[in-house]
Amino acid sequence: MEHIIENLKQFWQFTGFANFEIGYLIMIIIGCLFIFLAIKYEWEPMLLVPIGFGILIGNIPLFAGLNVGVYEEGSVLNILYQGVQRGFYPPLIFLGIGAMTDFSALIANPKLLLIGAAAQFGIFGAYAISLALGFDAAQAGAIGIIGGADGPTAIFLSSRLAPTLMGAIAVSAYSYMALVPVIQPPIMRLLTTKKERLIRMKPPRPVSPTEKKLFPIIGFLLTAFIVPSGIPLLGMLFFGNLLKESGVTKRLANTASGPLVDIVTILIGVTVGASTQASQFLRWESVKIFIIGACSFVIATFAGVLFVKFFNLFLKEGNKINPLIGNSGVSAVPDAARVSNNVGLEYDPKNYLLMHAMGPNVAGVIGSAVAAGMLLGFLG
């Protein structure tokens, strides 16, 4: 009997209850909140469900030495986490994004590229705020990239510049991407007049298959020559797009945009979630990162919308751009474009801005990858 009681005591020591701390409970509540928001409001469910459940996985109180935690070398979770830590998941996701993105809107109206560039002010605004709040330059660069509204880029850059902050940065980036429909519309309304919101843009011209094939090749060569440090992201993005547009690699494009990106999304979501262990995550820095992340999205939206208004000063009547697509310069594809469309429809039920907004939206993906390359070049 004594032997059994002794074993039960030992078993108790191994349970999560015996190792419980309040931090784990807070993180479990956050994980459940993510899952709730994803299921109830369908806010980025593809990301928030894996991340939310990953948070639950990563915050089961563990007896040290069980070799199951994400930070314990050689554990299954740790091996899966290598894709985040060494940065090979993000380029694979970019391959999928390239294979599923239609750059036609951008090719048809290339001036929309500039809106994608303007919205990157969010990144550098956040960089400046981070420096002011006491982060070192490398950490500030990693935090700043949240303003690009691009999860894979944020993970890629933070894994190189500030690995210790990667969990907080990734969760912050994905959270605010999910909150794009909440954050952006008030700013868009604040900065535009009713007349501007009613601007109807010319339908984009049809784009020839040759132009679509040339775009990834020229786009890659140009951007990679300018910012070689962005090659992993830019290379895979444009390569994926060439698979799609070449017309002769349909199966590869389907795999890249379907099963491959799904698998990597699952792995990146769960492992990023699991990396937010209470001991690593519940720190004052994480709170600051969340505050800076919110600021970066606000700055990016401000910059995008104001840039369109400024740009319109130089455009002839009839060629003007609806400033409601300015918010789409952040690379949260296609959520930001959907927001432009929905806000536009509120004021004119027949003014569909989705196709126009997709231009700056995909330009934002290119812009944030270039910006990430710059940060890596300066601070890496």
Binding site: E42, L106, I107, A108, P110, K111, L113, L114, G116, A117, Q120, F121, I123, F124, G125, Y127, A128, S130, L131, A132, D136, A137, A138, A140, G141, L161, P203, R205, P206, V207, S208, T210, E211, L214, F215, I218, G219, L222, T223, I226, V227, K250, R251, R338, Y352, A363, I366, G367, V370, A371, M374, L375, F378, L379, G380
Partner: protein, 305 residues
């Protein structure tokens, strides 16, 4: 076809040679010590003059076949031998040569010393093209080396720009200590508020996208012109065909139907909201997915006659 293969072979070989030559171009004379009485010892326990080469590139460089000399009139004084893996210099790494005039002691012992040397010259495998050169100072004193202030940076023409007397010798290692966090720290010191980086990086982002804009604007204009020509050529022949620049009515009808079905929220989209799915109906054949190739061969009966 034969010509194409020949052309590709020539291009390939040219690229190989160019790539090799370019990488050797990245090698730099980095530091030297003339009078060694109490400094680094070689494998034979002797203290001799030494000099250092640095691979300033981010790729491995093989220096086998290149030449080292102390005499501008004889650039081929010492040929770096092949067949030694140690001549493959890793990215941003150094290699040390002993100027002891005893080349039989190994790959890294050259056939001259620095006691009367005018300069040290590193030459390509062709024996003519000088990659880097530096005059030798004989007034440095004992155990004092002369080297680049920052590894790999500075002149390659013998002017000595970017070189200085070193505070301490650093054979086979960096002249300037590199702290892992040095780059971000320097950046923060130069740009404490982040405005310089912001303006620089935003300029680059804008520049990249503006160039892309001009290129695709030009391609688009050319395409529209070509479309108009095609359209004019086919005018009045077939009304169902359209050139680029014109959208057939059927396309608008299909888009309108899809948008209508989407807004009506019927079963036109799959389980995810906000997604309209247009299913493919074509079945493209591929032997990879053909079931017939996964089946065993049907047994056949050979009938005897």
């Amino acid at each position: 076809m034969k010509h194409l293969k020949l052309f590709l072979a020539v291009v390939g070989l040219t690229l190989c040679f160019t790539a090799g030559a370019q990488s050797q171009d990245a090698m730099r004379l980095n530091e030297y010590l003339v009078i060694n009485t109490d400094d680094f010892q070689d494998d034979f326990g002797q203290q001799n003059a030494w000099f250092e080469l640095f691979n300033s590139s981010y790729g491995t460089v093989d220096i086998a076949g290149c030449f080292l000399s102390d005499d501008p009139d004889n650039l081929k004084k010492y040929a770096i031998p092949g067949g030694d893996v140690m001549t493959k210099i890793k990215p941003r790494q150094h290699v040390l040569f002993w100027a002891d005039n005893q080349p039989y002691r190994g790959t890294f012992h050259v056939a001259f010393d620095l006691s009367n040397a005018k300069e040290i010259i590193f030459t390509k495998g062709d024996g003519k093209t000088i990659i880097d050169r530096i005059p030798v100072k004989h007034d440095l004193g004992e155990n004092v080396s002369f080297g680049r202030i920052m590894d790999g940076l500075g002149s390659v023409d013998g002017s000595g720009e970017g070189w200085s007397v070193q505070e301490r010798t650093s054979p086979s290692t960096n002249n300037a200590l590199i702290d892992k966090g040095a780059k971000p720290d320097r950046m923060k010191a130069i740009d404490p508020y982040g405005w310089i980086l912001a303006l620089t990086a935003m300029s680059v982002v804008f520049a990249a996208l503006i160039i892309l804009y001009f290129i695709f604007k030009a391609i688009g204009n050319a395409n529209i012109k070509a479309g108009k020509k095609r359209s004019a050529a086919s005018a009045g022949t077939d009304v169902t065909k359209s050139a680029y620049g014109e959208v057939p009515g059927e396309v608008y009808a299909a888009i309108a139907t899809a948008m209508h079905l989407y807004q009506e929220d019927d079963e036109s989209h799959d389980e995810e909201s906000f997604v309209v799915t247009l299913h493919h109906t074509d079945r493209t054949y591929s032997p990879w997915s053909s079931k017939i190739y996964t089946l065993r061969q049907t047994p056949s009966v050979n009938k005897r006659r």
